[in-house]
């Protein structure tokens, strides 16, 4: 049977829309499934107390601190490197073999699975450099992991800055560095910020790499060389070992809420940037 073009059009559009709606409902399902079961268990005590008996009771305060520290450090380390790379690629050089190699490196890093980062962080930071299972090992591993995201988004943001801005800056007698820092970076800031916020999101979600590098100690870390468990890993342990389902749902809700906030902020920054450039 050969369909008439109009009927094929009708069928295809219906099918495509159905599949797209399936996707959206999957998203809503994931979020609601967790939040409906988890939100009722979130209380001030849950957020501010340490876990007792392996997380069966008590809260997740040390994990919140651990997550903030690992994530914050990772982005603090990766941001200057990523933005610096983007500045070099856009403002300080022409397209050449060298830039092709640098881009290839960044693209490859973006594709490496997190478990490989975990293995690398374990053998390099934890063992070879003797940092042990610690906040700093986890942060350095995550920093390499989010580096490609920061490079890519910063580069796009810097490229989106209109060329006329640069000409005007040169026309006023600025050096290249003055032009870059005071005109280009200032304009591209919200765009670069989007990349940084997305990297924070990626670090918070990460589990496999953190498990092998930051360890899973339950206490509040006292120094950068202390092991610390992140929220994602705590959630994994709670659910996998069946320690406490209510606490697992509540921890997952905290994670989901954090990711929601991060995505909204990233979206808002991107909006700021596009309106500023336009």
């Amino acid at each position: 049977m050969i369909l008439s073009p109009t009927r094929a059009q009708y069928l295809a559009v219906t099918l495509m829309w159905t599949l797209a709606l399936v996707t959206i409902s999957a998203l809503l399902f994931v979020i609601l499934f967790i939040l409906v079961r988890g939100l009722p268990h979130i209380s001030w005590e849950f957020l501010s107390q340490s876990p007792r008996s392996m997380g069966r009771e008590g809260g997740i305060f040390p994990m919140i601190i651990g997550t903030l520290l690992v994530t914050g450090l990772a982005v603090l380390i990766a941001a200057p490197i990523g933005v610096g790379t983007a500045i070099y690629l856009t403002e300080y050089t022409r397209e050449s073999k060298l830039t092709a190699v640098i881009r290839f490196g960044a693209d490859c890093l973006a594709g490496i699975p997190s478990i490989i980062y975990g293995l690398f962080g374990f053998v390099f930071f934890v063992i070879t450099l003797g940092m042990g299972l610690s906040l700093i090992s986890g942060a350095l591993t995550l920093a390499i992991m989010v580096l490609p995201t920061i490079i890519r988004t910063s580069e796009e943001a810097i490229r989106a800055v209109p060329q006329t801005y640069r000409y005007v800056s040169y026309g006023l007698g600025s050096t290249r560095w003055q032009m870059v820092t005071q005109v280009v970076l200032r304009t591209a800031l919200p765009g670069i910020g989007t990349g940084l916020v997305l990297s924070i999101g990626r670090s918070i979600s990460e589990t496999a790499a953190v498990m092998l590098t930051a360890g899973s100690a339950l206490g509040i870390p006292k120094s950068l060389f202390d092991s610390s468990r992140t929220l994602a890993l705590h959630f994994y342990t709670l659910s996998r070992e069946g320690i406490s389902m209510p606490n697992a749902y509540a921890t997952a809700s905290v994670l989901i809420l954090a990711i929601l906030v991060i995505n909204v902020v990233a979206y808002w920054l991107m909006h700021q940037f596009t309106t500023r450039i336009a």
């Binding site: 073009p5 059009q9 295809a12 559009v13 495509m16 829309w17 599949l19 797209a20 996707t23 959206i24 999957a26 998203l27 399902f29 994931v30 979020i31 499934f33 967790i34 490197i81 790379t85 070099y88 300080y92 640098i102 490196g105 960044a106 693209d107 490859c108 890093l109 594709g111 490496i112 699975p113 997190s114 478990i115 490989i116 975990g118 293995l119 690398f120 374990f122 053998v123 390099f124 070879t128 580096l147 490079i151 050096t175 290249r176 560095w177 918070i204 979600s205 589990t207 496999a208 498990m211 092998l212 994994y236 659910s239 996998r240 997952a252 994670l255 990711i259 929601l260 991060i262 979206y267």
Partner: protein, 308 residues
């Protein structure tokens, strides 16, 4: 004594001033050099990661022989037997399943976003799909265990923890990758192709599948291959829903263990050769992922140079 100190500090001052003068004169060049050094850190990281993974993993592969390591089904860490064939099959099976589900859904989303969607809905749909990419993989795994696995066990049989469950979970996880790169590829098709097709009386769907999809074909292939790379490398979600047995699966309802879950499951207690064998598993995974990524990168690079 005092003279010496004064002398030393004068020399220091002089040096400092000379240094400052030098930087001042060559400021731009210094900045360019520092930025170059920073820019090289990405490729340096890649090199050092490759080096350390291979350094730890290769000895076991060499000792076992590549063919025995890849094709043997005996994984007995205590006896020094390391064969990863079932895990390779497991990884391939869940990736193939994820491709079917994630590819179909992801590509449909991309087509809807580009072709059939009113701009107002795009503002809502696009962030939703990006959000899907942001949700932690452990959360996907958890929902797989709590919802999908019992569903499969009750209605389709088997233990529930299976290739099928992993494929569905992974499919949803790689969908945002497929969608966003396909959207880029579809957007890059010159508008005159579309206009020309509509002008000669083709319907929107004919335009989509005979013109747009054809013109963007290589980009879509790149999107799907990148999605494959992500599916092969995904760890935590797969551990939770795949069942992790060491046997070859006979149907999509059988449990499997993937390369990634093998590493993550045993790394916490492995020592000596066992740990090295896990790194060797990592080497194989690394090679597979790099192979897929290089193909995807080459395709998208060729596209870019075609356009110029």
């Amino acid at each position: 004594m005092i003279e010496q100190q004064v002398g030393a500090s004068t020399v220091f001052m002089l040096n400092y001033q000379a240094l400052r003068g030098f930087f001042y004169r060559h400021r731009e060049r210094t900045i360019a050099l520092v930025l170059l050094a920073i820019a090289l850190s990405a490729i340096a990281s890649l090199a050092i990661i490759t080096l350390f993974i291979f350094k730890e993993g290769l000895p076991i592969i060499v000792r076992m022989g590549l063919d025995r390591f890849l094709l043997s089904s005996d994984w007995y860490p205590l006896e020094g037997e390391f064969g990863i064939f079932p895990m390779i099959v497991g990884s391939l099976a869940v990736t193939a399943g994820a491709m079917v589900i994630g590819g179909t859904l992801g590509l449909s989303c991309a087509i809807v976003l580009i072709q059939f969607c009113p701009p107002r809905a795009v503002i809502f749909l696009k962030p939703c799909i990006e959000l899907l990419a942001g949700i932690p993989s452990v959360v996907y795994g958890f929902i797989g265990v709590m919802f999908l696995v019992p569903l499969i066990r009750d209605y389709l049989g088997g233990p529930g923890l299976s290739v099928l469950a992993s494929s569905v979970v992974l499919g949803v996880m790689i969908l945002p990758t497929v969608t966003s790169i396909s959207v880029d590829a579809l957007q890059a098709v010159p508008p005159r192709y579309r206009e020309g097709s509509i002008a000669i009386g083709a319907t929107e769907w004919q335009t989509t599948h005979r013109v747009l999809l054809k013109a963007a074909r290589s980009g879509i292939v790149a999107a799907i291959i990148l999605g494959m790379g992500r599916a092969v490398g995904e760890t935590m979600a797969v551990i939770m829903v795949a069942g992790n047995t060491l046997e070859l699966p006979h149907s999509i309802l059988d449990p499997v263990r993937t390369l990634t879950s093998n590493i993550a499951l045993e790394m916490s207690y492995a020592t000596g050769d066992h740990r090295k064998a896990l790194f060797a598993t990592g080497v194989i995974l690394f090679v597979i992922v790099m192979f897929l990524n290089t193909i995807a990168l080459t395709i998208s690079r060729n596209r870019r140079s075609d356009k110029k």
